[in-house]
């Protein structure tokens, strides 16, 4: 099932994500994919036309947060710390696609890694533009607490775990 409209509403509710033109491509089970178009207003170095590192940071932070929120049982989150490594300049004119994965969560902390690609290396195995490792707060609902305590995963609904549609 795809429910792009409700997933996209999540992005639309964040003023800065909307301002940057972010588009939610996929979300569910602690993973999220968000892309954004090239825009001359977001350039960081006018000599090269390369998008600002800050924009890539904002995209990655949003994507990581979305991944945490889609983790089973998560109710809310905020960034604790985020490290970004810039491997290469994003190609001017191309979309940037961020993929984030919440690979572990305790009752209070979520650990996330993410990478960003441009269209040149849209495939996951190409050299990313940037990678991120981050820690987020985890405001857990009942099921995440149960998961963290090692109980069986409830088979019920996972908030935000619906698929955001084909990328």
């Amino acid at each position: 099932m795809t429910d792009k409209s409700s997933a996209q509403r999540f992005i639309e509710a964040i003023p800065h994500a909307r301002a940057l033109g972010m588009q939610l491509e996929e979300i569910g089970d602690g993973r999220a994919v968000i892309s954004m178009p090239y825009d001359a207003r977001f350039v960081g170095d006018p000599a090269t036309g390369v998008i600002s590192g800050g924009v890539v940071s904002a995209l990655m932070d949003t994507c990581c947060g979305a991944a945490v929120l889609s983790y089973p049982g998560a109710r809310g989150t905020a960034t604790l710390d985020l490290r970004i490594d810039y491997m290469r300049a994003a190609r001017p004119g191309q979309r940037i696609i961020a993929r984030a994965e919440c690979y572990h969560a305790t009752r209070s902390v979520a650990f996330v890694r993410a990478s960003a690609h441009d269209e040149d290396t849209a495939r996951e195995d190409g050299l990313p533009v940037a990678t991120v490792t981050a820690a987020f707060t985890m405001e857990a609902g009942a099921s995440a607490r149960a998961l963290a305590e090692g109980e069986a995963q409830p088979g019920g609904q996972k908030p935000g775990a619906q698929t955001g549609g084909a990328a």
Binding site: A17, S52, D61
Partner: protein, 171 residues
């Protein structure tokens, strides 16, 4: 022999302000966010006036973590460029009268940037100052702090490493 008369203060101010304007005004994304720079001598304070589009969590509401990160990174890059520019400008190696977007030294490139979020950013103006802890020929390490109402209550800090661009030979 007469000593050279000191430059009128207005001339000095104009030169420094122009250099800063060209440097900071050249970054489209800084302009999009609305980042301004306040100068006292060589000390810079970055100012981010609050705007609705900077919100990341509309329910609290709070500044977007990415906005905070971008604000800190822009502050670090400008401070680093400014400290290099300052030396060249004050020693007379660089003539600010010919300084425009084309003659601006290339901006440093961010290698990595680590942001520490200490409090949520409130929906009001934010300020930041950066300190160049080490600046060699090729690499620099810069620390930056941001606050809102109280200078002593930092809401975010960051450390970044930057690649210093090779300088073109003076003509």
């Amino acid at each position: 022999m007469n000593r050279a008369k000191p430059e009128p203060v207005q001339v000095i101010k104009e030169r420094r302000d122009k250099a800063l304007r060209v440097l900071a005004g050249g970054i489209p994304y800084a302009h999009f966010l609305g980042v301004l720079f306040d100068r006292r001598g060589d000390e810079l304070t970055a100012v981010l006036p609050f705007d609705e589009k900077l919100i990341g969590n509309p329910f609290l509401p709070a500044l977007h973590g990415g906005v905070t990160s971008a604000f800190l990174e822009i502050t670090a890059i400008i401070e680093l460029s400014w400290s290099m520019l300052w030396e060249e400008m004050e020693t007379g190696k660089l003539d600010p009268r010919v300084l425009d977007a084309e003659h601006l030294p290339r901006l440093p490139k961010t290698i990595d940037f680590t942001v520490d979020y200490l409090r949520s950013g409130l929906p009001r103006d934010a300020y930041a100052r950066a300190r160049v802890n080490r600046s060699g020929r090729r690499y620099a390490s810069v620390h930056v702090e941001a606050w809102q109402d109280n200078r002593n209550r930092i809401f975010a800090q960051a450390t970044g490493h930057f690649l210093i661009p090779a300088r073109a030979k003076p003509e």
